[in-house]
Amino acid sequence: MEKKLLKKDKLSGIVKKMAADKTLYAPVQDEDNVLFKVLGPGVEPLVAFANTKNAPKKVFFPHSELLVKYTRSPKGMVFAAMPADAKDVVLFGVRPCDARSFALLDMLFDQEKWKDPYYIEKRKKSAVISLACVQPPYASCFCTSVDGSPTSTQGADILLTDLGESYLVEFLTPRGEGLAAYFGEATPADAGAEAKKKEIAEKSAAAIQSKIPGRAIKPILDVSFEHPFWDTIAGKCLACGTCTYMCPTCHCFDISDEIKGDDGVRIRNWDSCMFPLFTKETSGHNPRTSQKQRWRQRLMHKFKYYVDNFDAIACVGCGRCVMSCPVNIDIRKIVTDISKL
């Protein structure tokens, strides 16, 4: 696919132009946080090293999403039609780890047998412009341990790499090429730029210091469901679910109905396997009564079940859970400890 060079000072203008034409999400400073949100007019998109506090998965898998509308007739429930089309969306400044999360979520939401039309529709209508990490943003980044890299193209439609003076713009997919018109000021990339990119890629991958045995623990997990090790991990866990809400790949949800007058809606909302009520049945029986079981579920889901089902680790190594856990439960340490079982 095509590669171009773009002078660095041109980027902001291009992004703002896109934001004027389409719904564009970008990292934006919001009080003390950098959040991934819709870029309003006159707002500067951020291209600094830090990643967004919230994961960009919410664009395709919103926190609360309308599934079904209905009304009440004298006889009961009557289902209403729903608008068909999602809007064209551009995601700008997505980190390669987060872009990989889309590829991982595709595996679940876009399976052969059951497709999730809400997710797929939004995914189809979107283009992801990824921004390579020329330096790892955090000491807790560990993408290289979970099949990723700071310059991974997985899940992205365009990859931008900061070469110093200019960005190398790689159009990776037809969806990415659909945005080529916006990059009119870019010039074709030469071999020198490619070499530079390669050098940066190697350097940035080497700069990721934090390592965990991501794939290596799978065979251990296969046989250690009952291991006493699990008793040691979750004592201090608050069951707050912050890790799952911040995680770019966590995708568990709840469905609830709301009514007002004669109108009703069915909404799906993010949920978390960390919550005691997540699996509690009407009868009162709960297959996962303890935080130990719930933590084991979270870890197993990411490092075993997902591998079993899709041959992929459901973790992109962004380090959000490590940084946001209020009691400092560090998934890197847990995975490392498991590898020694």
């Binding site: 599934l67 079904v68 209905y70 009440r72 007739s73 006889k75 009961g76 429930m77 009557v78 289902f79 209403a80 039609a81 729903m82 608008p83 068909a84 089309d85 679940l108 939401f109 399976q111 047998k113 059951w114 497709k115 999730d116 039309p117 809400y118 469901f225 995708h251 568990c252 949800f253 709840d254 469905i255 609830s256 109905d257 709301e258 009514i259 009703g264 069915r266 799906r268 949920d271 396997c273 997540f278 699996t279 509690k280 049945e281 009407t282 009868s283 297959p287 996962r288 079981q293 579920q297 197993m300 889901h301 075993k304 079940y305 079993d308 089902n309």
Partner: protein
């Protein structure tokens, strides 16, 4: 722009099909289990809702949400589907208040099913306890249907409830008893003045009936305590784990393997189950 509802239903597994409650049967003396007969509002939805015994569906009730319930009717019964529902949570309680003629929604069929192809040509031993008899009833009605009966060997049924008043489908039990091609053993833990049938727990009755393991498969569904004591009986009779089939229950929401709460190990009960053989269950974790 809005799409017509019928097209959405065809493309979207989250959107229920409209149905009408055409009949409500109170099954037990405690009145907390009722069978709801639902007819599709649109003919094409009935075509779309092609199911096999053992599958389940999500029932939608106005303002209350959805609840996953096993299908109690057999696909051989045309024109309607049936669900036997115990009053327990938000949706089922609302359903129990409903009257005939109420419009609601149904989403499905979901899950795998009793392994019909695997069962074909074999002797089938059905063991059910209490309220968990619903999808077994579907299977029995399917197997004894005229055109299907010859596809299966000997059919033995052991069905137990705590008391005579808690037996489901009493009329059907009577009609099955009159048939010569099904060995029906209905038992209650404790009978009453009018009860002339068997008394005793399901495991004990299974031991007495002692079905042969030759070319036989047993399909078990019931409360965990019943299953726990029944399994050893079948092991003693020589049934292999591949030939013992059961159905799991878990909290579910989406029913299509996305929402992430009903997994047992790498398998989702809603999508890969609810039906598993004991051999399959052995390979999974014990978190259910």
């Amino acid at each position: 722009m809005e799409k017509p509802l019928q097209q959405i239903i065809a493309e979207n597994p989250y959107v229920p099909m409209p149905v009408e409650i055409v009949k409500i049967i109170t099954e037990v003396e405690t009145k907390d289990i009722k069978t709801f007969r639902l007819a599709f509002v649109n003919k094409e939805d009935e075509e779309r809702f092609k199911y096999i015994p053992g599958q389940f569906a999500e029932l939608s009730f106005y303002g209350k949400g959805e609840s996953p319930i096993g299908i109690a009717s057999s696909p051989t019964q045309k024109g309607y589907i049936e669900f036997t529902v115990q009053k327990a949570g938000v949706v089922t309680s609302a359903l129990h208040e409903a009257e005939e003629g109420t419009l609601m929604g149904v989403r499905g069929p979901l899950g795998n099913s009793w392994p019909i192809e695997f069962l074909e040509g074999k002797n089938i031993v059905i063991v059910g306890g209490g309220f968990a008899f619903t999808t077994l009833r579907s299977l029995i009605n399917y197997m004894i249907f005229e055109e299907n009966r010859k596809r299966f060997g000997k059919i033995t049924v052991v069905y137990g409830a705590r008391s005579p008043g808690l037996l489901l489908y009493k009329d059907e039990l009577e009609s099955w008893a009159k048939r010569g091609d099904i060995d029906l053993n209905v038992t209650v833990d404790k009978g009453d003045a009018t009860w002339k049938g068997r008394e005793g727990f399901v495991p004990t009755v299974c031991k007495e009936v002692a079905p042969s393991k030759e070319n036989a498969v047993t399909v078990i569904c019931g409360p965990p305590i019943m299953i726990r004591f029944t399994l050893p009986v079948f092991f003693d009779l020589g049934f292999s784990k591949e030939n013992i089939i059961t159905s799991l229950e878990m909290r579910m929401k989406c029913g299509i393997g996305k929402c992430g709460r009903c997994n047992v190990g790498s398998k989702y009960v809603c999508k890969d189950g609810p039906v598993f053989s004991l051999a399959e269950l052995d390979k999974l974790t014990k978190e259910y």
